[in-house]
Amino acid sequence: MEILINLVGLFIIAFIVWWFWIFKKQSEAHVEGNLLDIVVDSGVYEPSVIHVKAGEPVTLRFIRKDSSPCAEKVLFDGLDISADLSVGTPYDLTFTPEKKGEFEFTCQMAMYRGKLIVE
């Protein structure tokens, strides 16, 4: 019994590592027609991995449903872009990504996380 419980515990730890760090499949989306809706709700950006093409202007429409103060801001690290979101008022963030690469976008506290992949 004791061994079994310890094994279960270790299994849970392994699962945490695998689920949150190794097998990190997130909702992905390619921007089509230069406009993409991103819903901000319950601690998550949906979709959270966004593919865009370098040099093409893109509009990310953030639709904030979460009224917790954490969801208020969205910051793109390394791109110098940020926006203040208001509940129920979609916000169009239009910009032209120039640099290729992966850029994280997060809330102010980096709890909400997403990734912008410029290809």
Partner: protein, 748 residues
């Protein structure tokens, strides 16, 4: 057109942009169009199928439009930039909702705590006990879903996304308490008697505390954006515009370029423009930090948001809407408030992996108590695991940096110091050398003629006439001073036949068939002009910091002019302030050594570098940096752009209302060097505040988690009650925000 008709006509220019999330077919477009057109007051409707938006023109409240759309079966929301008051109302509604939840869950928690502590309910192992505790379990479930529902949906949603956040910790912590307790109620016999505890009070109290904490945090956070709100509040809502001969009050959005606007005493100036009639004193302190009202006369620039103190005047609108200085300042401050200095990166990295790590610690805690703990192991396992999950606070860590940056950047804006990025805040706090450009930075940047010395046989006016007739063809700042001096004396200028600039030395011109030379001593020497006694006077003037221009006609020295650029009255004091804070102050100038030396000694800088060509300024900065110094460059943002960009922190000064100086990290709205000292002190205070927050948040988490896991138990028998853990967690993030708010009272 009558005034009324005019203003009504203008109203129809108001257009609103709506977002309709469920436009999915071309048919929807017609339905929505028809629905909106039937609303009285709507003039025009344009549905954009591709980006699912609708533009509606007409003076109709957004709510009416949204209702009309929803009646036709679609969901719409307004897309315009929210006004700050709408945003505040939403926040307030959310705050009230949170408070209501807190009160209800608080009352239920107290009831549950009372019945548990006073032993009012029968033992859980009896049938009556099971019924009564079953009711308590349902009450707890109500609290968890009503007041804590968002934690569970949030946890589930992020879990699906392979993410974990604070919701995850709270949901698991309180969820485990409820599931285990309900299991005990349902099957009391399957748990040994000493472990037969229920934790309903724990679950409800934790939810109550966390909601209370969130509500307090929201309140405190509202205060962090006070600076922005104050700036937005500067913008008046209406403007009094001349339209077809009469003055009409119109909403500020409708002011057009080149409109003539009337401002009466005591009123705020609505947009940026140029004064065309009248004169006044204008208080620009809210924008520039400049305490003394500025005199404005015809031709002067006026800035939207500043207050007209005395006379009534008219001005022509030159910048409106998003282009006004005030709008740009608001935009810049907002953007800067959202950036993070380097010091916050570590916390970001930690908070990215924080929650899964806490989950692992929780499992390890459980196993440790199971394997090594005293009986009843199950009880200890539960209590410690709950405490670990609940006490860990990623929020405090994540908030530590950004919340201080918000307050710090806002505070700086109050003093007319616009910080472009959070990083500049950190670097400005670590500077060792401040390099000041001389002209326009230490001095006014507007040279004036301060000495006129003709040679024998020539009069002052003759000398000035020749000099200014030639200089009126030049664009050199010194030439401007000469021309200005002749204007003051009402001297009539004579047109010259030819004009040629001799790079770095002066000019050569043909004046009434005579060759005129105007320039420095070298130019005269090269052309064999005998300066005679003028040399002595020129040396005297140079020592006083004046630039000397010699004038010769057909090889004969006619005289000299002394030109100087007055030093700003508070430059010396500001430089002393910088020196007192341990910073070395260096002056950089293109002027000759003698002039530079004089100015340097007058203002008391530690060192100066003279005769630097504009293109070499950046190189001088690099040289200092190579010596390991952290160098700030203060200059005008245009000529000094490369030096500003190359320095660790570039300050643009004296740019008037042009705030968008790309090469500068910090723009000073006020011409005074005190802005540099203010910026540095505010940066230091903000950095200190961030450090306090980070040390607090890291310290809290690294102490609290082991204690919650029961590390003190083997030595002291002490275990942390999960309820206390909940209270501590709720308090920790409130503390971070409150500490950042202390910066609001800081005075540089």
């Amino acid at each position: 057109m009558s005034k009324v008709a005019d203003s009504m006509n203008n109203k129809s220019e108001i257009s609103k942009r709506l977002y309709v999330s469920d436009i999915s077919c071309a048919g929807c477009v017609e339905t929505i169009e028809a629905a909106l057109k039937s609303v009285p007051g709507v003039d025009e409707v344009q549905v954009n199928f591709a980006d699912r938006t609708v533009n509606v023109s007409g003076d109709v409240p957004a709510d009416t439009l949204i209702q009309a759309i929803s009646k036709s079966g679609y969901t719409a929301s307004i897309m315009e930039d929210n006004t700050e008051s709408e945003r505040e109302n939403k926040d307030l509604a959310h705050y009230k909702k949170l408070l209501k939840k807190t009160v209800i869950s608080g009352i239920i928690s107290l009831v549950i705590v009372a019945v548990t502590m006073l032993g009012l309910l029968p033992d859980v192992a009896s049938f009556r006990g099971q019924i009564s505790w079953g009711i308590v379990s349902l009450l707890t479930l109500f609290v968890l879903t009503y007041a804590g529902g968002r934690f569970f949906t949030g946890a589930l949603k992020s879990f699906k996304n392979h993410n974990a956040n604070m919701d995850t910790l709270i949901a698991i912590g309180t969820g485990v308490a409820w599931v285990y307790s309900t299991f005990v109620v349902l099957f009391p016999d399957s748990v040994s008697e000493i472990a037969r505890h229920v934790y309903f009070d724990t679950a409800t109290l934790i939810i109550t505390f966390i909601n209370l904490g969130s509500a307090l945090e929201m309140r405190a956070r509202g205060k962090t954006s006070e600076a922005i709100k104050r700036l937005i509040g500067l913008q008046p809502k209406t403007a009094r515009v001349l339209r077809e001969g009469s003055e009409v009050d119109i909403p500020i959005e409708q002011v057009q370029m080149d409109d003539i606007v009337r401002v009466r005493p005591g009123e705020k100036i609505p947009v940026d423009g140029e004064l065309t009639e009248g004169s006044s004193h204008v208080d620009e302190s809210m924008l520039t930090g400049e305490p003394v009202p500025v005199t404005k006369k015809v031709g002067d620039e006026v800035v939207g948001g500043s207050v007209n103190k005395s006379g009534s005047f008219l001005f022509k609108a030159t910048r409106i809407g998003k282009d006004t200085a005030l709008s740009q300042i608001i935009d810049m401050v907002r953007k800067a408030q959202n950036t993070k200095p380097e010091i916050g990166r570590l916390a970001d990295k930690v908070s990215a992996i924080f929650v899964p790590i806490v989950l692992i610690i929780a499992v390890l805690t459980m196993l440790a108590w199971f394997n090594f703990g005293p009986p009843p192991q199950l009880t200890y396992m539960l209590v410690t695991t709950m405490a670990v999950l609940i006490i860990a606070c990623p929020c405090a860590l994540g908030l530590a940096t950004p919340i201080s940056v918000m307050v710090g950047v806002g505070k700086a804006a109050e003093y007319g110091v616009l910080i472009r990025k959070g990083d500049a805040l950190q670097k400005a706090g670590q500077l060792t050398i401040v390099v000041l450009d001389k002209t326009g930075t230490i001095t006014e940047g507007k040279p004036v003629v301060t000495a006129i010395e003709p040679s024998e046989g020539w009069s002052e006016n003759e000398l000035l006439k020749i000099a200014s007739s030639v200089e009126t063809n030049s664009e050199h700042p010194l030439a401007e001073a000469v021309v200005e001096a002749s204007k003051e004396k009402n001297i009539e200028l004579i047109s010259i036949e030819s004009f040629e600039a001799v790079s770095g030395h002066g000019v050569r011109a043909l004046y009434q068939q005579k060759t005129v030379l105007l320039g420095n001593r070298k130019l005269m020497n090269d052309n064999g002009v005998n300066l005679g006694s003028l040399i002595e006077s020129s040396e005297k003037l140079s020592k006083l910091g004046q630039t000397v221009i010699f004038v010769s006609v057909n090889g004969e020295a006619v005289g000299l002019l002394g030109i100087s650029d007055p030093i700003k009255t508070d430059s010396k004091e500001a430089i002393q302030r910088l020196q007192k804070s341990g910073i070395k102050v260096v002056m950089l100038t293109g002027d000759n050594r003698a002039t530079a030396e004089t100015v340097a000694s007058l203002v008391g800088v530690d060192d100066f570098i003279a005769e630097v060509l504009p293109q070499d300024k950046a190189h001088e900065i690099t040289k200092l940096q190579e010596l390991g110094e952290k160098v700030a460059m203060v200059g005008d943002g245009i000529n000094d752009a490369p030096a500003l960009a190359g320095s660790d922190v570039g300050f643009a000064i004296g740019t008037g209302t042009d705030v968008a100086i790309e090469s500068a990290d910090i723009t000073l709205m006020r011409g005074s060097l005190h802005g540099v000292a203010d910026a540095i002190t505010i940066s230091k205070a903000t950095l200190r505040n961030i450090k306090e927050n980070l040390v607090g948040a890291f310290g809290y988490n690294s102490l609290a988690i082991p204690i919650a896991a029961g590390i003190l138990f083997p030595f002291t028998g002490l275990l942390l009650n999960p309820i206390i853990a909940g209270a501590a967690m709720a308090l920790s993030s409130v503390t971070v925000v409150t500490n950042a708010n202390r910066l609001r009272w800081f005075k540089p």
